[in-house]
Structures are given as structure tokens and as C-alpha cells.
């Protein structure tokens, strides 16, 4: 005890200095937003490191659970994949079963924003495992977005929660195509646009990806129609869609590579010329 007091007395100047320095920094940050922002940034840097450490530890102890869940997810995905390969949607025998040009890679989402009007995701894998721009990203129960840019170990994704992104979808039981657009508020609430209205649309109809964009393969379940309103003035339908899975609540994703994309691009180029 005596030792502690002696040490305290010996270093009283340094201690006093540090305390007063802390007070002045507090004062500084209260007075100026700029300094507050800067100090918060350094604070975040520190606390981020600490949180990362603890999250690493808890991740480690959750590994078994995570692995189990992952393998479960993988198996359902594989099942879906196989199902989509032999999808009964191809009623006529125009496309022969057996060739399915899409490949799947498992990735982890490390940042998922959903509060803005134009949201982005960041994945923990990049060009090293073969992710390239314009690949599709799906979760175990629905779609997530399209790869925008790629670095060696990370890639950024335009989320489906992005007002400018339109996704080609169709009804599961009828071949009526439309575009899925986010409404901008609730991450599960979308609206269906550009749909050809010769077909009757009912609440509860399931929507799947349309396979026309060459990003997403045909037949990934996306969501179901939650509301159909006829607006009396112009005769158009207002169709609301609810996703099966909230895209903001996803931790793992699958990147889908269309191996035919170069071929398709060449073809499109040839058509436009």
C-alpha cells in the first residue's frame, strides 16, 4: 500500500498531466464537431479492434454450430440447384437437361448496409477465388445482389436493397415476366413492375428469378406476392412483393458464376452491331 502511494506521489505530475489532458480533449471534442468526429474515428479504430478480438473468440466457440448450419444450408442449396437443373419449368424439350452453366462459391458477408436508399454489401472473398464483377450473389433463401467491384480478398456487392437495381423475375406457375424493384423502406417489401398483365396475378403467388438477365439462373425462389391493387384511373396494377428472407439478416452468401457469360456477351454484341 505504502508502495502504491509512493509511486502515485512520485508520478503525480505525469498523472495530473494525463488527467488534465483528458479533460482538455473532452473539452475539445465537445466544442468542435470536426475534432469530435476525428476522435470518434480513433476511438472506433480502438474499439473495433477490441470487438474484433472478442468476436474472433466467440466465432471460434461457435464454429461447430456454424459448420453444422453451413453444411445444412449447403445441402439445401445443392438440392435446389439440382432441382433447378431439372426444373419442370422447361416444359417443352427445347433445352436438354444436363447442362447447367452456373457454379456456386460460398462466401461470408462482412458488411451489410440496409439503412440507405442505395445499399452495398462487402464479401470476404475476392478475385483470388475467382469472383469477378457482374456475378450474382444469393443467400440460402433468395437473392442478395450483383458483384460491383472486386479486390484480391474482398468484393463489393450492389444489394437488392438498391433503388436503381431491377431484377428480372417471373411467376412460378405462369411465365409472366416482370422486374422486381425495392420500395426503399422495409428490406422485405418490394414492388413488381413492368409486368405483362394479360395474366391474372393472385396474392400468394411465388416469384422466381426469370433467367433473362444472365446473372441469376432461372428458378431461384425470391418471394411471394403480398398485395395486388388495381388503381382505377389508369388500369395498372400495383403489385407488392414480400421476400422470403430479409436480405439484411444474412451472414453467408453464395456467389454464382455463369460460365457462359462471355459467350452471351459476344452474342449480344454481335446483335447490336
Amino acid at each position: 500500500m505504502q508502495l502504491v502511494i509512493n509511486t502515485l506521489l512520485r508520478f503525480r505530475n505525469s498523472i495530473l498531466y494525463l488527467i488534465l489532458l483528458g479533460i482538455s480533449l473532452l473539452f475539445l471534442s465537445n466544442k468542435s464537431d470536426f475534432h469530435q468526429y476525428k476522435l470518434e474515428k480513433y476511438g472506433l479504430y480502438l474499439s473495433g479492434g477490441i470487438y474484433n478480438f472478442f468476436s474472433d473468440i466467440s466465432d471460434y466457440f461457435d464454429l461447430k454450430k456454424v459448420n453444422l448450419r453451413l453444411s445444412k444450408e449447403n445441402s439445401t442449396l445443392k438440392f435446389l440447384e439440382l432441382k433447378s437443373q431439372a426444373l419442370p419449368l422447361y416444359k417443352d424439350k427445347i433445352i436438354k437437361a444436363g447442362r447447367f452453366p452456373f457454379q456456386v462459391k460460398t462466401v461470408k458477408i462482412i458488411k451489410n448496409s440496409f439503412q440507405n436508399q442505395r445499399n452495398y454489401l462487402i464479401l470476404d472473398q475476392g478475385s483470388k477465388i475467382g469472383i469477378r464483377p457482374e456475378m450474382a450473389v444469393i443467400s440460402s433463401q433468395g437473392i442478395l445482389g450483383i458483384v460491383k467491384s472486386v479486390s484480391e480478398h474482398y468484393s463489393s456487392i450492389i444489394s437488392v436493397l438498391h433503388l436503381d437495381l431491377k431484377i428480372n423475375v417471373r411467376l412460378k406457375n405462369k411465365s409472366a415476366f416482370g422486374s422486381l424493384v425495392w420500395k426503399g423502406k422495409d428490406p422485405k417489401k418490394f414492388s413488381l413492375e413492368d409486368i405483362i398483365l394479360s395474366s391474372d396475378v393472385k396474392v400468394g403467388d411465388t416469384l422466381i428469378t426469370g433467367g433473362m438477365s444472365s446473372y441469376f439462373p432461372l428458378g431461384i425462389p425470391v418471394g411471394q406476392i403480398s398485395k395486388v391493387e388495381t388503381s382505377s384511373e389508369n388500369g395498372y396494377f400495383k403489385i407488392s412483393v414480400e421476400l422470403f428472407k430479409d436480405p439484411s439478416q444474412v451472414n453467408y452468401a453464395y456467389v454464382i458464376e455463369n460460365q457462359d457469360i462471355e459467350e452471351l456477351k459476344k452474342l449480344k454484341l454481335g446483335v447490336s452491331q
Binding site: 505530475n13 495530473l16 498531466y17 488534465l20 473539452f27 475539445l28 466544442k31
Partner: protein, 167 residues
């Protein structure tokens, strides 16, 4: 001793007032302001208790920050310099601080200059670092430190020599 305390208090207050209302508005060559409140931290007796001195330095910077509506840069700079003063003294005079106060009246000129130079430039450097608070402004910080330090140094030397001749 009592007259010394009174003198110190008057010196302190007048420096705060002068700094806030006059020296902060000189804007020489577009924006260089001398920081003459450093006179207090420079001329404070070397043989006093340092804990007390740190508190005074904090108070000095704090009152200037409060009155001139600036952030906490003056406080941090003045506080740091009052904390660092024994080291600067030791470095520039080559002796420990607890020498008799008669020492102050007849120091070697070069030693005294070194002491002034270090005190002022370190203070200004800390001050401008906290004003800009960004590594991108490093060149601006160094430039401002350099120019303002020269300005302050000249004024401090002038005022100190005047003060001494009066005595």
C-alpha cells in the same frame, strides 16, 4: 511572498486579457498571431512546485480557450508545455530545475535562447497539431508553427528585455 503571489495573479490575468483581446487579432501577414501568454510559462519561477505549475498552465490555456471561443488547443498546448518545462530546462541549461532563483537573472544568453526556442516551438507545434488535427495538413502545421514561433520568439525576447531593463 505575498507580493509575489499578487504579482503572479496580476501577470496571469493581464496576459489572458491581452492575449484574447489584442494578440489574437493581430493577423500579421494574413494570419500569424503571437502567443504571448507563453511569457507566463516562461517567466514563472523555476524553483516552484511543478504540480502547482501544471495546474496553472492548464488554467491559463483553459481561460484563453474559453474567452476566445476556440476548441481546446490552447489548453492542451499550455498544459503540455507546463508538463514538459523541467525537461526543457534540464536540456537547455544543463542543470536540474531546483537551482536558486538568482539563476534566472543571470543565465547565459545562449542557454536562455535555447530554452525560449524550445518552449515556444514545442508549444506552437502542439497547438497547431490540435488546431488542424489531420495528417493531411502536416505541411500547413509545420509552416504555421515555424512562422508563428519566430514571431512569438521575437516579441517574447523584446518584452522580456524591456521588463528587465525596467527593473
Amino acid at each position: 511572498m505575498n507580493s509575489y503571489i499578487l504579482k503572479t495573479v496580476v501577470f496571469f490575468l493581464s496576459l489572458v486579457v491581452l492575449q484574447v483581446f489584442i494578440f489574437n487579432h493581430i493577423n500579421f501577414l494574413g494570419g500569424i498571431n503571437p502567443m504571448l501568454y507563453l511569457l507566463f510559462l516562461i517567466n514563472f519561477r523555476f524553483d516552484q512546485d511543478q504540480t502547482f505549475f501544471i495546474l496553472l498552465g492548464f488554467l491559463l490555456g483553459f481561460s484563453i480557450d474559453l474567452l476566445s471561443q476556440t476548441g481546446g488547443a490552447h489548453t492542451i498546448a499550455a498544459l503540455s508545455i507546463s508538463f514538459l518545462r523541467p525537461f526543457i530546462i534540464r536540456y537547455s541549461f544543463g542543470v536540474i530545475a531546483e537551482t536558486p532563483k538568482s539563476f534566472q537573472s543571470s543565465p547565459k544568453t545562449l542557454n536562455r535562447l535555447v530554452f525560449l526556442f524550445f518552449t515556444i516551438s514545442i508549444h506552437h507545434l502542439i497547438y497547431f497539431i490540435f488546431v488542424y488535427f489531420s495528417w493531411d495538413a502536416l505541411s500547413l502545421i509545420l509552416k504555421n508553427t515555424f512562422l508563428s514561433s519566430i514571431f512569438s520568439l521575437i516579441l517574447v525576447i523584446l518584452i522580456n528585455s524591456l521588463y528587465r531593463t525596467k527593473q
